[in-house]
């Protein structure tokens, strides 16, 4: 990275640019977060005025909680959807950026899942994955798989079926951000490479991929964060079942907080979740020097 000395001039301007946003972040994120950090050490039940300090009881409970460990495992499986969706979205964005007709229509079609009604999404995927007569299993039987998986009806496969839906759901979102990034890749750069005799594959991996690496970094970091936090798809399709096999950590927090009203314990699990994502993010932040080119 070349040093640009001018960027270090007028440092006050940096603070000035960030200040308006900082006020909101402080008010709506940092202060509530500190409050929730405090709840970790209490037995606070939502709406119940009787609160007492319980020290590290919640932490102890968490480390003995089978459901907590189970939720971590499911969260791990859920996170697999992030890199898969990223790579697919990059390829789709490449194709839709140049080498098709009807670009506008196709982009709209691929983005549509991201804004579709969750109820409709849940219902249609239930039908597609229906074990006995759903189209996916019919197709699998047709190509010779005698006993295809039960998908949502089987606690061993439900989490992977959720992954598939999540990849499908996030594809359009990742795609349009990649599309925006591809606009920064100039036609001149591409043409120069073509004249140099580089093949399509080489151009893609040697030129385009590095050029969009800041976007990949963004999507990877925020994708992991958002996927860890989000459970809308799961809530709509399986509600964490069957027999808890799709309860990821964030859904467990949600149930603990809003169904059981155990806010103190929910805070504890959340802060664990927070610590995990923070470590992952810092590792990525340090690692970005190797592959992200600004």
């Amino acid at each position: 990275m070349k040093r640009h000395s001018w960027m270090r001039k007028q440092q006050w301007a940096g603070y000035a640019f960030i200040l308006p946003n900082m006020v909101g972040i402080l008010l709506f994120f940092i202060i509530p977060a500190l409050f929730s950090f405090g709840l970790m050490f209490t037995n606070y039940q939502f709406a119940n005025p009787n609160v007492s300090f319980t020290g590290l009881d919640n932490l102890k409970r968490m480390f003995q909680d089978d459901q907590f460990y189970r939720a971590i495992k499911h969260t791990g499986i859920f996170l697999l959807s992030v890199p898969v969706s990223l790579v697919l979205a990059f390829l789709v964005a490449l194709v839709l950026n140049r080498s098709v007709y009807l670009k506008g229509l196709l982009r709209g079609m691929f983005f549509l899942p991201y804004i579709s009604s969750g109820v409709a999404v849940a219902f249609v995927w239930m039908l597609l994955f229906q074990p006995s007569h759903g189209p996916i299993n019919e197709a699998l039987r047709w190509i010779g798989i005698a006993s295809p998986p039960g998908w949502f009806a089987d606690s061993d496969t439900a989490m992977y079926a959720i992954d598939i839906v999540q990849v499908w759901f996030m594809l359009g979102y990742n795609m349009i951000i990649y599309l925006a990034a591809l606009q920064e890749v100039s036609a001149e750069q591409m043409e120069a490479a073509t004249i140099d005799g580089a093949g399509k594959g080489t151009i893609t991996w040697k030129i385009v991929w590095p050029l969009v690496s800041p976007t990949t970094f963004l999507l990877l970091v925020t994708g992991l964060i958002m996927t860890m936090k989000s459970f809308a798809i799961i809530q709509a399709i399986t509600q964490g079942g069957p027999s808890g096999s799709t309860t990821i950590l964030s859904l467990y927090v949600y149930k603990t907080a809003f169904s059981y009203y155990e806010m103190g314990y929910a805070s504890t699990v959340s802060w664990f979740l927070f610590a995990v994502i923070l470590v992952i993010t810092i590792v990525q932040w340090i690692g970005q020097k190797r592959w992200v080119h600004y």
């Binding site: 039940q45 939502f46 709406a47 119940n48 005025p49 009787n50 219902f123 239930m126 039908l127 994955f129 229906q130 074990p131 006995s132 759903g134 039960g150 998908w151 949502f152 009806a153 089987d154 606690s155 061993d156 079942g241 069957p242 027999s243 808890g244 149930k255 809003f258 169904s259 059981y260 009203y261």
Partner: protein, 445 residues
Amino acid sequence: MRKSKWWMASMSVVLTAGLLAGCGSNGDAKEGGASSPSGSSESSGNSGSSGSKTKLTLWGAVPAEAGPQAVIDAWNSENPDIEVEYLRYVNDDGGNLKLDTALMTGQDADLFISYSLTRLQKRVDAGVALDLSAKADYDIDAQMGPDAALWKIDGKYYGMPTKKNMSFIWLNKQMLDDAGLPVPPLDWTWDDLKAYAVKLKKDNVYGLLQHDSSYTATLDGTIAGLGDTNAEGKSNFNNELWKSHLQTLHDMMFVDKSTPEYGEQLTSKMPVDTMFLKGEAAMLSAGEFIFRNANNLAEFPHDFQIAFATVPRVTADQKDFKYPGGLGDALSVNAKSKNQDAAWKFAKWYADGGMLPMASGGRLPSSKSVSSDEAIKLLLQGVENMYDVDSLNKVVFGSFESFQLSIPQQVIDARKEEYEKYFLNKQDLDTTLANMAKRHEEFIK
């Protein structure tokens, strides 16, 4: 050129937003502020005593058009000095959270209806439910009968159970007749039901369907009789009756194939009530809310009579089985409300007949001040001949020893996870019962 176009676009977005903000600012004004609509109606309504009008908000989970709107319209025309507004919340985790949040602020929620004892318990803990047994002018025990006492918390009433709860087996009378089966007796068992289901199932007709809300009716009624824990404080969840019942259901799914396999029911999102009314199932285990669709012959056309049976006991010699039902819809007054007297006045009126417009949807009042004939007439108006009168009277309007479920949600969820494993053939029956008991004990520890 491009630049100016871009700025035009963003400016127009900001301007539109600003305009909309201006339009909506009236709606933003909080209560007590000078919001014009309520102010004007007040001055035109009762010009003599402006400012003395009390406004109450009632929170309930029944959609407004299914009765509550008619109830409060009637009240508002009879009582010009107390205006009640109905606010509907969805009775799920989110909806209850919304209600509990509103209750904490003490405004915009003067009266509220809880639909389970565990939810009411939380509101009592939070100090937002008024002790109604302290009121001298209304005797809940006398008005609502012995089942009301199941709603007592620490010996006190924090809500009036205003409605009769009901859960039973709906029967397609035509199919019973075709199979030569009589309407089952009141004391039938799951073995009897299993035999019925086998005889009634056909190619595209299930013997039995169960609505989600009734899936655990037998488990709950059994444990209510046995008690959650035994004398040593150990969990009673590994009892023989549950074992037998779960085994029966499992056999019906996988051996008889007279009821949908569990995974099938989960993943097909089966609309069981519609399927029953379309003749795709001979028996349906569900609550009284089916009446609303069953009475609606235009949207759910069917030409068979419906008969009723009780939720079966597990074995013929099961002694203290409690029937699902009893009373429900516990109406409470918010202890933080500024208008508690007006709210209490409304509550008494509601329980003693004000709620009648909801009877057509299956909500029969529990208060003895309401003539049950009138409620039944409202329920069956115009569709009398669609029901088998004899079993209707015995089952729907019969009286059975009942219970209110007081098992905490955490335990209910754990129990569900375990029986799901059994129904999905991931775990054998003995392990399932052992795990249920184990997780129950972990919770009560």
